[in-house]
């Protein structure tokens, strides 16, 4: 076993306290000034609400139905709006 593991077991309170301190320093450091860099990158945490927004759009998307496939097969395009006349 690597010594890191034993050390971790021997001084759990030290490790825990150290994490708290570093975290506190990090938070204090990030909190100062209006020129501070942007928060954690979008690539890392995702755009807030993106999943819900896109999910909601897919939830109400009507063009995945076979009815629309039949409509496209008649020569129409994906973005054409279904005319009311063909809907019964």
């Amino acid at each position: 076993m690597f010594p890191f593991s034993r050390r971790h077991n021997a001084f759990p309170q030290v490790v825990g306290t150290s994490i708290l301190i570093f975290t506190s320093l990090l938070l204090v450091g990030c909190g100062g000034g209006s020129n501070s860099p942007a928060p954690a990158s979008v690539a890392a945490i995702g755009t807030p609400g993106a999943e819900g927004s896109v999910g909601e759009r897919l939830f109400v998307e009507t063009r995945f139905a076979q009815f629309v496939k039949a409509y496209l097969d008649s020569g129409e395009k994906v973005n054409d709006v279904l005319p009311a006349a063909i809907w019964s």
Binding site: A50, V54, E61, R63, Q66, W87
Partner: protein, 178 residues
């Protein structure tokens, strides 16, 4: 399909998205009818004994059951999640694929590959100017799902290759059949 099926005296309320074909919300209702019926709020379920499905000339016009409520449906449970009243699916991913590609959306048995191809065609060709897209941000799906600004907290490779994955899935299914 232009009416929300109900039991009792309010049979035939105008269905949301009537005239635009089938979508999930057609049966998983929320506040569609509260304007005229204040106590008709739904928890993403419907009013029907059996939910209506699109006409395909096979005599079927309803699913075997009605639509399960979606509120708290995906909470973790001690023995894992099960979806639909008969436990048809164990993951939401399977549920979504298994709903978009089957009879609920008008696809007959044996048309799953065709359904996947069609969904990919719609997503590739979408210009973001349709009536549904303009209810949101008006972005085409290809931009919505590939733009690095709109990053999902899901597998990034899966996101980037979402449309390609549909093709791969179709190819895989085709090779399994042959």
């Amino acid at each position: 399909m232009n009416l929300s099926e109900t039991i009792g005296p309010m049979v035939g309320l105008p269905r949301p998205f009537a005239g635009l074909s089938m979508n999930c919300r057609a049966c998983h209702l929320a506040n569609e009818h509260t304007a005229t019926q204040p106590d008709f709020m739904r928890t993403y379920t419907d009013f029907a004994l059996r939910s209506p499905i699109p006409h395909r000339g096979d005599g079927k016009r309803t699913a075997p059951r009605n639509s399960p409520p979606l509120v708290i449906a995906s909470l973790d449970r001690p023995d894992g999640t099960l979806f639909h009243f008969d436990g048809e699916f164990s993951t939401l991913e399977d549920l979504i694929v298994g709903t978009f590609t089957v009879r609920n959306f008008g696809w007959l048995p044996g048309q799953k590959a065709e359904a996947i191809q069609h969904i990919a065609q719609v997503m590739r060709g979408d210009n973001g100017k349709g009536p549904i897209a303009t209810m949101f941000d008006g972005l085409p799906y290809l931009i919505l799902l590939r733009d690095p600004i709109l990053t999902f907290r899901t597998n990034s490779a899966c996101r980037r290759n979402f449309v390609c994955s549909l093709d791969q899935l179709q190819t895989k299914k085709s090779s399994m059949r042959s």
